[in-house]
Amino acid sequence: MISVHGLTKSFGRQPVLRELSLEVATGSITVIIGRSGGGKSVFLKHLIGLLRPDAGRILIDGVDITGLRGGALDEIRRRYGVVFQGGALFDSLSCHENVAFPLREKLRLPPDEILKRVEGALGQVGLEGMGAKLPGEISGGMRKRVAIARALVTEPEIVFFDEPTTGLDPVLVNTIHHLILDLHRRLHFTAVMVSHEIPEIFEIADTVAMLHEGRIAEAGPPAAIQASQNRVVQKFIRGEPDNSEER
């Protein structure tokens, strides 16, 4: 269970998160939606411990990570897998080496076990035989899939996806979403995903949370969000233009 209470963050005089609170159930897929520049990625960076809040708490199975540093925070991070917006694959390593990296450096597994796991992970994302290629030699969709394989190869309990389908065509968006759904069913991890993909995310999410002006405007099952009477939520999921912005 991930519990966020009163998370507040400002950059200079610009408030980004304002007493944001959210509960993420264990084993669920929670998708955070909201306008670009609305603080979704900032929120995600707090969850993975890359940013520290000005106020508020983030509890991972009851442990407050906002005060943790060094080894204690790393202990929590060992349970994480993260898929970054651009993939964040290491340019100088092949796809195989990228996926093997956390197994070799984080889990320190023996080479034969690493080989077996990497081939399995690349197979799960449909990239058998592509391991020798460098990230610069493959397409954007393939890079996202390698990034997903790298995030999941250590079998993490919690996986964070930061806009995993941004910049991809509709076919690839569906492919990646179904891949995530399929892997979630098999591996049973807790997923927190930041996404703009409306309405596709309603097919894969257990919970959708709308972030607006630094707070969760509404959170609930996809059907409830789609039927929401909240003007902010309705405007966002219908893609209505900004001229009658609600405050």
Binding site: G49, R78, F84, F90, E105, K106
Partner: protein, 264 residues
């Protein structure tokens, strides 16, 4: 509570105060970064593969530029010193003059400046791109210390490669002086090298060694720091790279003066 605007007479003090705080803040971060890097250098696990990669990146790939600049520096020195010494009938001292200039001063400084231009800038750009493409964040969330993977191997490689490249610079520089003094201007080889053995001692060589060692730390420290604290996008990387080269070059010259004063 809204802040009251400052009286015009107080604004310069406010600006100087703000600037001083910003300077102290960045100096503090610069120092903390070095302390963290040093911690990663001296504590296991050591990343041998990353270290070898950095030795290749900073050292081996700088070899050609060191050979070229070393040779021509020696040739220029040979010519200019000869033209000066010949006025006093002291051209026999060309060998030691070239050797002492290169070993004590020009070798460490010019080699460090050349490596900064070639490898230091590339180091900043590489780490900067890793920062803006979230590769450093990826290491962090894997519970792996980026200092151990990116900074510590670079500083260690600087400690190894700078003295080696300086030694190569010294040798080819002395050879460049030999080409001009002996082959072009007709000085005897025995005079060139014989007088060198008389005047150059271990203390001179150690002076150059300590300088090159400290330059290796300064350049890799500055360049990795600038890469780690890069701004946004391509412009941020470009700015960080320029700052890294300028700051490294200035620090090399400033530190050279202090080292020269200490190691007389």
């Amino acid at each position: 509570m809204p802040e009251r605007p400052l009286a015009p007479t107080l604004r310069p003090f406010d600006a100087v105060g703000g600037w001083t705080i910003a300077l102290l803040d960045s100096l503090g971060r610069f120092g903390t970064f070095f302390a963290e890097a040093l911690g990663a250098v001296v504590t296991p696990p050591f990343k041998l593969r990353a270290f070898i990669d950095r030795v290749d990146y900073i050292g081996y790939r700088s070899l050609l530029i060191i050979l070229l600049t070393g040779t021509f520096t020696g040739m220029v020195l040979g010519l200019q010193i000869y033209l000066t010494l010949v006025r006093f009938g002291s051209e026999a001292f060309l060998g030691p003059a070239v050797a002492l200039s290169i070993i004590r001063e020009l070798g460490p400084v010019l080699a460090a400046l050349m490596i900064t231009g070639r490898a230091g800038s590339a180091l900043t750009a590489e780490i900067g791109i890793m920062r803006i493409t979230e590769q450093i964040d990826a290491l962090t969330v894997m519970a792996l210390n980026p200092m151990r993977y990116l900074v510590a191997p670079s500083i260690l490689a600087g400690l190894v490669t700078f003295p080696l490249l300086t030694a190569i610079f010294d040798v080819v520089g002395i050879f460049g002086g030999y080409l001009v003094g002996v082959k072009l201007l007709g000085l005897s080889p025995g005079t060139y090298f014989g007088e060198m053995q008389t005047f150059v001692d271990l203390n001179d060589i150690m002076t150059g060694f300590w300088k090159s060692l400290s330059f290796g730390v300064i350049v890799t420290w500055v360049c990795t720091y600038k890469g780690f604290h890069v701004g946004h996008g391509a412009e941020g990387v470009a700015r960080a790279t320029t700052q890294a080269v300028v700051l490294s070059s200035v620090l090399i010259l400033v530190w050279d003066y202090f080292m020269g004063s200490i190691l007389q």
